[in-house]
Every structure is written in C-alpha cells, then in structure tokens.
C-alpha cells in the first residue's frame, strides 16, 4: 500500500498524476475520432510541427504551450488548406509540412548554444517536471477541448461516418473538418510535456484502437477508450516512479500492453470465443468484456 500512497506525498508526483490523467482522457476522446477518420498520420505530423513553436517560445521566454499551440494549430489548418487548394493527396501535403516544420524546429534548436535539457524533454516527455502554472494552463486547455467535443460530438460523428449525408442535411462538414484539426492540434499541445512529440500519436490512437477490440458502439467506444487512457496514465506513471524510467515511454508501453491484451483476449481478439471476420461480437458481450 505504501508503494501507492508514498508518492502522493510528493507535490511534483501529484501534479504529474493530474496532468497525465487529464492527458489520457482528452487524448482518448479526441483520438476516437482520429482513429475513425483514419487520420493518425495527421496527429503525428501536427506533433512534430509543434516543435519549432516550442523552440521559439524558449527563445522568446514565453510559455511553451503558447508557441506550441500557434505552430500546431497553424500547421493543422495549413494541412487542410494545402490539400484543398493544391489538389494533391492529403498524405503528400502532410509529408511535406511534417518534415518541413520539424526541420525548422531542429534548425532553430541548433542555433542555441549549449545543451538545453528542457527542450529535449519535449521530444520524449517528462511529466514529472511539470510546474504548477503549466498544469493550470493545461487543465484549462483540456477543459476547452472537452467542451468543444461535448458541443459538437453529434456533428463530428455524422460527418465522420457519412460526410455526404451530413453535408446534404446542412452540417457544415468542411468547417467542422478545420475545427477538428484545430482540436487535434490543441490536444497534442496539452500532451507534449507528458509524453513528448515523438510518442504523442500513441496517446491519440492506442486507447481508441484498444476500445475497438472491445465494443462496436460509438458511445461505448469513447467511454472504453477514456478508461484505457486513464488506467494507462496512472499505472504508467507509478511504474515509471518505481522503476525510475522515462514517464512518457512507460505510459505508452502500458497502453501498448493493454492493446495487445485486448487484441489477444477481447471478443474480437485472436483468442476470442468467436472466430472469423464477419462474426463481430454483440454489443452486450463486448461491454461485459470491457468492464470485466
């Protein structure tokens, strides 16, 4: 028991626990749409694009999330715009902007004399270093993202499932698309300090992918993904504390472990009771398995 309670006496651990739990939930909720839209690559690209913003914020001595948010949201909207205007495939425009913006970040980073540990922290994440001011800012941003999803979940679901039907019935699908990219960008900014640029795509994608192994209903998919997100953040943070390992990587490893478990043992899994492509589980089976 002491192993669990002892770290809670440390204020930096409590801050890290709050931050990573919030990141786990927000990433899982937004990530559900990311997975269903098949835009995981966009998440990865936006994360890398945040790097020049983080370096610029360091150079200008302003909070990292301000620079990261400007760079990430800007790139997210640029991906949407370039794809529409240049008439090229989306993965091509992502590839161009992804590498270009990250290179800009590395270039700016290399102009700084000496070793800057803080900036490396954003590549791999170090949630234990989060300060009280940053935590409050991230919580506000997180609430903002959840608020937007709370307002637009129906429209996002309809536009993701059937963009033509949604657009024909008056839902502004294109506007929603840009809004969604901006939401993904903010989610990534919130997650940068916890898991870092390189691993943030796992936080977005893995909980929803795990939930897909367990349920076939959208509403439950999101709830299961959020549960997976919270559980892996809490377990991962404790593990990293006990084992003295990198927090972001440990959290992502726990998520990956849960995904593999669902893949093997879930109702749709390789060792599940039912086999075969078209015998999906019934909803109640799946939910029972998820809550077991």
């Amino acid at each position: 028991m002491n192993l669990v309670l002892e770290p809670l006496a440390l204020s930096f651990f409590v801050r890290a626990l709050i931050a990573s739990t919030m990141v786990g939930v927000v990433c899982a909720v937004v990530g559900t749409y990311v997975v269903l839209r098949g835009v995981a690559f966009i998440g990865d690209a936006i994360a890398h694009a945040a790097f020049p913003g983080v370096v610029a914020a360091f150079l200008l001595s302003i909070p990292f999330y301000v620079g990261a948010a400007i760079a990430a949201v800007g790139t997210a909207l640029a991906i949407g715009w370039v794809t529409k205007r240049a008439g090229i495939r989306q993965d091509t425009s992502i590839g161009v902007l992804f590498a270009g913006t990250f290179a800009l970040g590395v270039f700016m980073f290399s102009t700084i004399n000496g070793y800057v540990a803080d900036l490396f922290g954003f590549l791999l994440g170090n949630v234990l270093a989060i300060g009280p001011g940053d935590l409050v800012a991230l919580l506000v941003l997180g609430l903002g993202v959840m608020g937007i999803v709370g307002l637009l979940w129906k429209e996002l679901l309809y536009a993701t499932f059937d963009p033509l039907g949604a657009a024909a019935s008056g839902i502004k699908v294109e506007r929603l698309e840009y809004m969604f990219l901006a939401v993904v960008a903010l989610t990534i900014v919130i997650s940068l300090q916890a898991v870092g640029i390189i691993l943030v795509v796992a936080m977005l994608v893995t909980p929803a992918a795990t939930a897909q192994m367990l349920t076939v209903r959208f509403s439950r998919l999101m709830v299961v993904a959020a549960m997976v997100g919270i559980a892996s953040s809490v377990i991962g943070l404790y593990l990293s504390y006990w084992l003295d390992t990198a927090s972001g990587a440990t959290i992502v490893l726990v998520q990956t472990g849960l995904f593999l478990l669902a893949l093997l043992l879930g109702p749709r899994g390789l060792l599940g009771r039912r086999r075969g492509g078209d015998t999906l589980p019934t909803d109640d089976d799946a939910f029972a398995a998820a809550s077991a």
């Binding site: 499932f161 039907g165 909803d283 109640d284």
Partner: protein, 311 residues
C-alpha cells in the same frame, strides 16, 4: 460524344408533366400541362436550368433542364457513368454546377438542407464503422437538433417509428456491418424517414437487394410521395423504374427523356440512353448493364466494397 442542345435532348411533349398523385397536406400548385421546364420554376421542388457540371476537367453532365414538382416519385435511369449520381449530388448541394442554375425547395442548393434527406450509395459507407442501427437512424435527427442539444424522447420515438416502418425494429442494437445488403438499405431509408424531410434524394436505394425489401421500400416511398413529399432516386433497375415510379428521367451525360414512366421507357429512348448497352431480342428490350457497378468515385470519396452480411 457530341453534346445535344437542350431542345434536342428533350423528348417532345414529355417535359414537366405534373405528378399524378399529390393530394397530401402540402399545398400543391395547379396543374398546368402547357408549361415548359424552365418556366415551371415556381412550382418545382427540384429545378435545374441548363446545368453543366463535372469533376476536375471531366464533364459529367451537360445542359440539364428539369423541374420536379412536389409529390413526384422520380427515377433517374441511365448507364454507368451517365451522371446519375452527379445529378443527385447537384440536387443535394454536394457538387456545384459549372454553369446553369439550380433551385431546391425554392432556394439555392443547401439553403433548405434540413428539409432534404440524402442517402449515399452503399459503396460509400464504411460498414465496419462502430455504430449500431439505432445510432445511424438517430443521425437523421441531428440536423434538426443542431449543436448543444442532445437527442431526447421525441427523437428516440421518431427513430423507433422509422425503424418499425422499414421492419428493422428488432435490430436496434446491431452493428451495421452484421446486416445483409437489404437490411442496410432499410436502415438508411429509416434514417431518411426519421429526418422527416420534404425531399428524399436516394442514390441506388433498391440496387442489389431482395424483392421483398424492394417492394417494402417502394411502398414506403410511394406513401411519402402520396403525402406530397418529393422522392428522387437513381436506379439501375429499369423494371422497378417502370413499375413503381410515376416518372422517369433517362440521362446519358444529358437528359435523354423525362416524363411519365410508361411514356419514357420505350425502346427508342432506351436505345438513346443506353446506346451500345442495349440489346433488342424478338421485340423484347434487354439492357446489358452491370447493376453491381456504379459511377466512378468522385475525387475525395472512399468506396467500401464490402458485400457484407451473412443473411
């Protein structure tokens, strides 16, 4: 192919014949057999005047002029690549015309979108998507709810009612990928019914489904038309178009013929609409057209070729 001029492309005397039924709750215009399509404007739920459209630099439709009156039950027929789906997308406001004018329910396309229900081809739906039958039909209620508001008791009642009409009540909680082809079409028609629209735009609603389902869906559409709602559906099934639709619009990149189904579906019109796809055997006309193919994907569309279901 040489583009036909609008006047040549229309079969004489078949233009803008008012729908035979339509004594429903919606006020209907006085029948006027003399008006030509461009001037039928004020009466029409769907009105296109000299519309040309396409994707990129590929022209899909040229010089289309039609007026569809409230209470019509209209089938759009034609071979693959004739522009049937494009025509429906123009009506739904999903594609913009290059030239010409369109009015839907008396306004530019999209303005009255909440009164329009559009059902895409089955190939455009990702059947592995984690939604149940109930989820899909509930989407029909989303536009009228707007952001913020959550589905309430009225919406659940409308969903249950629509599902009962299409005979899918017991499948409320089934993931859509587990349904047969006919059941999938029923669910999407239920979504359109739940939206309570004035205009139904249906892309291949009866393609590749069993005869029972086809009869059921056509009965429901007939009921809607009888209540003054307008139904426009593309179809590969000429027998269905002839027997169950009041009006037929034959297209092949432009309007070949438009009017009551018994007048439009003659060998001459079919020969012009289907060209080389038509075979005349001892007085019987056979259309050699693969009903399982569909128009090319428009740019940006994902097609899902899951013939699905185990039923």
């Amino acid at each position: 192919m040489e583009p036909l001029s609008p006047s040549e492309s229309l079969v004489e005397g078949l233009v803008s014949v008012p729908a035979p039924t339509g004594h429903g709750p919606r006020p209907l215009p006085a029948h006027d057999h003399e008006v030509s399509a461009p001037h039928a404007h004020a009466h029409a739920d769907v009105w296109l005047s000299d519309v040309t459209a396409g994707y990129g630099d590929r022209t899909a439709l040229e010089h289309v002029t039609i007026a569809v009156e409230p209470g019509s039950l209209l089938a759009i027929v034609g071979p693959n690549g004739a522009g049937k789906s494009t025509l429906l997308k123009l009506m739904a406001g999903l594609a913009r015309p290059w030239t010409g004018r369109i009015e839907i329910l008396g306004s530019p396309p999209g303005r009255e979108a909440r009164r329009v229900a559009y059902v895409p081809q089955a190939e455009l739906v990702d059947w592995a998507f984690p939604v149940t039958v109930e989820d899909v039909v509930m989407m029909g209620r989303f536009p009228r709810l707007g952001p913020v508001r959550r589905p309430g008791a009225d919406d659940r009642r409308a969903v249950a009612d629509a599902l009962a009409q299409v005979g899918m009540g017991p499948h409320l909680r089934t993931q859509i990928g587990r349904l047969s082809g006919g059941q999938r079409r029923r669910v999407f028609l239920a979504r359109a019914l739940a939206a309570e629209p004035d205009l139904f735009l249906l892309d291949e609603p009866v393609t590749g489904i069993d005869p029972n389902t086809q009869e059921l869906l056509m009965d429901l559409l007939e009921q809607q038309a009888a209540r003054g709602k307008t139904v426009v559906a593309t179809t590969h099934d000429l027998a269905c178009a002839a027997q169950r639709f009041q009006q037929v619009l034959a297209v092949n990149r432009t309007v070949v013929a438009y009017g009551p189904s018994n007048l439009v579906l003659d060998a001459d019109v079919l020969a012009r609409a289907y060209g080389g796809h038509l075979l005349v055997l001892e007085g019987r006309t056979v259309v050699l057209d693969d009903a399982h193919h569909h128009d090319d994907a428009a740019p940006g569309e994902r097609h899902f070729h899951d013939q699905g279901g185990q039923h």
